[in-house]
């Protein structure tokens, strides 16, 4: 073997004996062309939609989802295929991506996502890879076709323009807002509870409770007049405090303390005097049953002229919705607030408004986010309880 290599080297290391220089050059030239063509053809073939969907994992999932979107079929017939968005156009980054595709070859061979269930389980992770890529390069692949400078603002619908013009001024990454433009969003984002809140709810489900202690609701909790939990009395808002009086099987006897307006049916229990921060909402028959309440102090709110009373009511709730402190809830709310409310502008400090201003501000803006109802209630309460009414150095 070594002898053959040595003799091979000897032939190559000296001028040829028999073959003419011209033939050597021509052979090399032709070989180079064939190689170049072959290399680029291979690169191009693996860069086609047909190649991508030759794996059923892609064809049955993301390709089907694409078919319902504007990037597949639209008024002008200009469409995007898989590599337009998913393979970087820059040569170095494209080659790096091709090498990274060895991961996908592995997946195809060993079936990492070869069933719908497996795919859905990984959807969020895979989506996050792409979102990170788009975020890092400011949605460069989108800009292969879409250009802020070429957008005709007059042709755009009013609502679209309201968002797009500021985005153009900021040269914002398209994917900041347009996630899910081509394929389905992960279930966690569409409906239902977001995973962070779900974790808090799990914690509450397993929390150990002691009577005489104060606890806080994670999400809203139904209230009943009876320990059998049959007669609905109302509900507690998220992040509301209750005092645990006793337990009976699955039911907790809780005392809700708050303030009520004396005008009207008094159905809403507020966290504090003069504050539009809801603790609980009661059914009319329960709220008007004065015998149920321990009434304390009476005060008039000068701002409105309304008379408020401090009141305690004891009712029953189902076990499993309480946590011993609100820190984790506030952590979640703060993170959600930052994430959801800083996409288009820097989010205002919670202490920028007072507690009674926040509901209007919040409901005016929350439509721009994707928070579901439970999350909204929690974030609003967080903002209210960290508003200028509660913060020390607020102006």
């Amino acid at each position: 073997m070594l002898k053959r290599i040595k003799s091979f080297w000897r032939i190559l290391n000296r001028p040829p004996v028999h073959i003419s220089l011209g033939l050597v050059i021509i052979t090399g030239f032709v070989a180079g062309i064939i190689f170049w063509g072959g290399f680029n053809t291979a690169l191009e073939v693996t860069n086609t939609e047909a190649f991508c969907i030759s794996c059923h994992e892609m064809k049955d999932n993301v390709y089907e989802e694409l078919k319902d979107t504007v990037h597949y079929e639209n008024r002008t017939g200009v469409r995007a295929t898989c590599p337009d968005c998913h393979v970087p156009h820059n040569w170095t980054d494209k080659i790096a991506r091709k090498m990274q595709a060895s991961k996908e070859v592995w997946g195809a061979i060993f079936g990492t996502i070869n069933t719908p269930e497996k795919f859905e389980a990984k959807r969020l992770e895979l989506a996050q890879h792409e979102w990170a890529r788009f975020s890092a390069n400011n949605s460069l692949e989108c800009r292969n076709c879409h250009d802020y400078d070429s957008m005709d603002w007059d042709k755009m619908g009013d609502e679209a323009r309201r968002f797009m013009k500021p985005a153009a001024e900021r040269n914002q990454s398209c994917l900041d807002c347009h996630k899910g433009i081509a394929h389905n969003l992960p279930k966690e984002m569409n409906t239902g509870v977001d995973p962070a809140l779900a974790r808090l709810m799990e914690q509450a489900a397993g929390a150990h409770l002691s009577t005489g202690e104060t606890y806080y609701t994670v999400t809203s909790v139904d209230l009943y007049t009876d320990p059998e939990l049959q007669n609905l009395a109302g509900y507690l808002d998220p992040a509301s405090s209750v005092n645990l009086i006793s337990t009976k099987g699955d039911a907790l006897e809780v005392q809700v303390s708050g303030w009520r307006k004396q005008k009207g049916f008094g159905r809403i229990m507020y966290e504090g005097f003069g504050l539009n921060v809801a603790s609980a909402v009661l059914e009319k028959d329960v709220a008007t049953d004065d015998a149920r309440f321990d009434v304390g102090e009476n005060k008039v709110d000068d701002l409105t002229g309304l008379s408020w009373e401090q009141a305690d009511i004891t009712l029953w709730a189902k076990k499993g919705g309480l946590l011993p402190d609100r820190d984790a809830l506030w952590g979640y709310a703060d993170q959600t607030y930052s994430d959801g409310c800083s996409v288009c502008h820097g989010e205002p400090a919670p202490a920028h408004f007072d507690a009674n201003t926040w509901p209007a501000m919040f409901s005016g803006m929350v439509g721009f986010t994707n928070m579901n109802a439970e999350t909204q209630a929690l974030v609003l309460k967080y903002l209210q309880l960290h508003s200028s009414d509660f913060a020390e150095n607020a102006h």
Binding site: R10, T27, G38, I95
Partner: protein, 63 residues
């Protein structure tokens, strides 16, 4: 010195003659097999290194 004719080695180290066939085989092996394979390895290795770098330094940034 420069006028002296340069001769190629007509035999290999063992004394066996370098035939035309052997030369052609060497030429074709290098141009159609060895160089292409090396090129793919070099480009692939480059891509691989960039990929590993992206794992540490994150995805490519703004142009």
């Amino acid at each position: 010195m420069g006028d002296q004719p340069v001769t190629s080695a007509t035999t290999d180290e063992d004394g066996a003659p370098i035939t035309k066939a052997r030369e052609w085989r060497a030429l074709l092996m290098v141009t159609f097999v060895i160089l292409p394979a090396t090129s793919v390895a070099v480009v692939g290795g480059y891509g691989f290194a960039v990929w590993i770098g992206q794992m540490f330094f994150g995805p490519p940034g703004h142009p």
